[in-house]
């Protein structure tokens, strides 16, 4: 991305040509990364970027072709959330992140595939069909931002936006061998992100390298008065030179290396941590005693919020509506039956149950209290270390024909990513090795609120030292 930006400035490449090249690659895409490709809009953006590049003030993103997860609203371009219920929905406004990207001259190629309403870990639960992992097309790219992950891994875009509620950026980044950042809750506006779980959702960048992810992150972060949970503060640009790891205390939670972790994944992650140590980092063993409750807490809180967030899909103002309904109640029930897939229904049911009379205290309230304990664990841990390192996922990309059909087992794949969402912490996944099948393994780094500079800095330095991120499929 940075190289392309330099080439634009030396007139060795033009945004229009570059965009055409990407669009051509997307046309030949066999991984099913996109739900909607906006060729016309992309070329329009590219032409505008050529004008913009004549100014010395043009930013690093001017003319850079990017892809947007299809749960982020784009004015005039269909935004489906991979759901039948929104299959024809065309937003009348741009999400704040999209507006920011456009203002900085980025070229928006189209909208990438996901699990319906970002609920899933495989990018198979989609009206557009499954996305395949460019590392091995028989495998899942992970989810729910699997379309963005695959598009980046396959070189169909220079970078992409995903959304991460319980690991939906980091898991596909890990499975596809790319970089993915879930920013601090409140550092990137959620305005225009179709809500799954409001207190957990966060938009973030997915890119081939940490540097590219940092450029995208810098472009989208910042206070937004349209999002009440957006944090007003100074957002300084990331130092793209990396940081000196000498003396950096790297916390390794033993809870992230327990039962269920694939040994090959563990080996790769431990070797990644060893690289950080080698670069001067100091390893500190830390405790996150309540992290093990994360999955249970998450699937109560997230589904409770989702059950409410998805109530608006009722066939009244937009989206699918069941025909020939007897009355309004019948229209609601049939629309929502037809419009939502089984996983979305399952989560709406779970969340409705957790909030319903008589169960609120035992489920929703209890989970929200344990959430406090998990956040406190991190606070204590960060008094002993500067960043935390561990695996992103317990396994590598699995085969689509060996799909786990038990929902609980799938939920448990989020065990290492969920705690950062519950505590609102920034978390980065970067490639740190491969398993015996050559499938990429992701290492997850976490930091205190708003310390993306540490994560990205460490990530940049790590990638300057290693080649995992360059070993393509």
């Amino acid at each position: 991305m940075l190289e392309t930006a330099r080439q634009y400035r030396r007139y060795e490449k033009s945004p229009v040509d570059e965009t055409r090249a990407f669009l051509e690659k997307i046309r030949r895409d066999t991984f099913n990364a996109f739900i909607t490709v906006d060729e016309e809009g992309a070329l329009r953006d590219a032409k505008a970027a050529e004008e913009l590049l004549k100014s010395p003030d043009a930013g690093a993103l001017a003319g850079i072709p990017v892809a947007i997860k299809d749960n982020i609203c784009t004015r005039g371009v269909r935004t489906t959330c991979a759901s039948k219920i929104l299959s024809e929905f065309v937003p009348s406004y741009d999400a704040t992140v999209v507006r920011k990207l456009k203002e900085q001259g980025a070229v928006i190629l189209g909208k990438t595939n996901l699990d319906e309403f970002a609920m899933g870990s495989t990018t198979t639960l989609s009206i557009a069909g499954p996305t395949r992992n460019p590392r091995d097309p028989s495998r899942t790219p992970g989810g729910s931002s699997g379309g963005s992950g695959a598009a980046v891994a396959a070189g169909l875009c220079a970078g992409a936006l995903g959304s991460d509620t319980g690991g939906s950026i980091r898991m596909p980044a890990s499975f596809c061998g790319i970089t993915g950042l879930k920013p601090t809750y409140g550092s990137v506006s959620r305005y225009g992100l179709v809500a799954f779980a409001s207190s957990l959702d966060q938009i973030g960048p997915m890119a081939p390298t940490v540097r590219d992810a940092a450029v995208l992150f810098d472009a989208i972060k910042g206070y937004d008065p349209l999002d009440s949970t957006s944090v007003p503060r100074d957002y300084t640009p990331t130092n793209l030179d990396g940081i000196d790891l000498k003396g950096l205390r790297i916390g390794v939670p033993k809870e992230f290396f327990g039962e269920g972790l694939n040994p090959e994944v563990e080996d790769a992650v431990r070797s990644g941590i060893a690289v950080l140590e080698d670069m001067g980092g100091r390893i500190v063993e830390i405790d996150l005693p309540h992290a093990g409750y994360g999955v249970a807490v998450y699937y109560i809180v997230a589904t409770a919020e989702a059950s409410s967030n998805l109530a608006r899909y009722d066939g009244v103002r937009y989206g699918l509506r069941a025909n020939d309904a007897l009355d309004l109640g019948d229209m609601y029930a049939r629309t929502r039956d037809m419009g939502f897939g089984p996983e979305v229904k399952r989560r709406i049911m779970l969340g409705t149950y957790a909030l319903s009379a008589g169960y609120y205290d035992a489920y929703y309230r209890k989970a929200s209290q344990v959430r406090t304990l998990i956040a406190e664990d991190f606070r204590k841990a960060f008094s002993q270390c500067d960043i935390i390192a561990g695996p992103t996922t317990p396994v590598t990309a699995f085969r689509l024909d060996e799909m786990i059909d038990d929902p609980l087992s799938l939920y448990l794949l989020d065990i290492y990513t969920i705690p950062a969402n519950l505590a609102g912490l920034p978390a980065l996944s970067i490639p740190c090795g491969f398993d015996s099948l050559g499938l990429p393994v992701g290492m997850q780094l976490m930091a205190p609120h708003f310390r993306e500079d540490l994560l990205l800095g460490a990530g940049i330095s790590f990638q300057d030292r290693t080649t995992y991120h360059q070993e393509g499929p």
Partner: protein, 477 residues
Amino acid sequence: MKAYDAVIGLEVHAQLLTSTKIFCGCSTKAGLPPNTSTCPVCTGMPGVLPVLNRKVVDFGIMLGLATGSRIAPRCIFARKNYFYPDLPKGYQITQYEHPLCEGGSILIETAQGVKRIGITRIHMEEDAGKTIHDEKAPLSYVDYNRSGVPLLEIVSEPDITSTDEAVAYLRELRQILMYLGICDGNMEEGSFRCDANVSVKPAGSARYGTRTELKNMNSFRNVQRALQYEIERHIEIIESGGEVVQETLLWDPSRGVTVSMRSKEESHDYRYFPEPDLVPVEIDSAWIDSVRSALPELPFARRERFIGQYGLPAYDAGVLTQTKAVADYYEECVRLLDRPKEISNWIMTEVMRALNEQGIPITELIVSPEMLTGLIALIDKGSISGSMAKEVFAEMVDTGESAGGIIEKKGIGQINDEEELRSLAREIIDAHPDEAHKYRSGKTGLLGFFVGMLMKATRGEANPKLASRIMKELLEE
């Protein structure tokens, strides 16, 4: 027949007079074409987020202070989940745990004296849109212009024990809201809406009876009728050995009965939970103080002050403080001209008549306090008579001209200017030396002739008494 006590709790929804909606920048203006005062936020488009209008909190604090409520140092919003086509998000953003205000009260006057009615809570929430049901086709039509208009919900304690008290409470609450300038109080148009919980119990019993919820009472008269009907209905059921069913009922004003609203035993489990898209509101003493300092005097206190400060009869004070605008108008007049009782008389008669005839509030009256006091000052000086003044006032109301202007243009009024009359009189005497001589020789009957000449010279507008005195003085010099 046993005696029964009624127990009534009232829930009022007051639409606030902010310029914009509670969570978006759309106008709150009513009467616009359907769905034209909407945006992605108040139509619940995917991906949108609410941002709280600070003025709604200010208004809530105002009412909290006016009712002696505790203002929560920290309050939060919640989602109330239910499906209805005019509720665009499938939930209403409201407050549940930790509302803005708790523990207030309102004083009402009853036949037994002043009574305190407790206010359990006051909270902020968003209004829904409007659904119109087609008479012929099996269709309903939805307009979201009202969706997101800010409301304060005011919940009373079950302290109200009669329909009269219920109406007195509502009148007082409405007057306070209007005094604060935060609600226009229009019941017919729904900016002041009332639901009621009603139950009856044998007189003196501590146990509450089963309560029913009443909706759709859009005037004080309908509140009175509906509550009366419902209390009697409960008593009848109990008397005949039946049991009151807990349900929600709609008042049908045309038939004068309450009808059950939900046909099925539909559960309303609203699944309240804290609104994740909005952060808590923390209200410190500085915020409360700044609102308090801008708080207008409330009706009860102002009434008392008018009696004490202006020496008005209680009747006058009551009439003048009926609305804040009239009371403000009155006080501005008194500030300009220190004639409290005269001004009161004018406002209670001529001004009120003009308002009634034109069907306008006093704020739209073309005759400003300056103009009214200008007129009264002219009467005081004797420039015009009281009856002339009424005509002049009528003209002022029609034309918006000042009293002086009208008097001058029409040439009405009295010439009271001694100097002017004196010099005119001299001219007349000088012009009639023979008659003057005769007068001075004893023919005093000629005074009538001279005064007549003076009146003629002023086209009859000289103050006759003054004219006569001046003429007499000059002739006898």
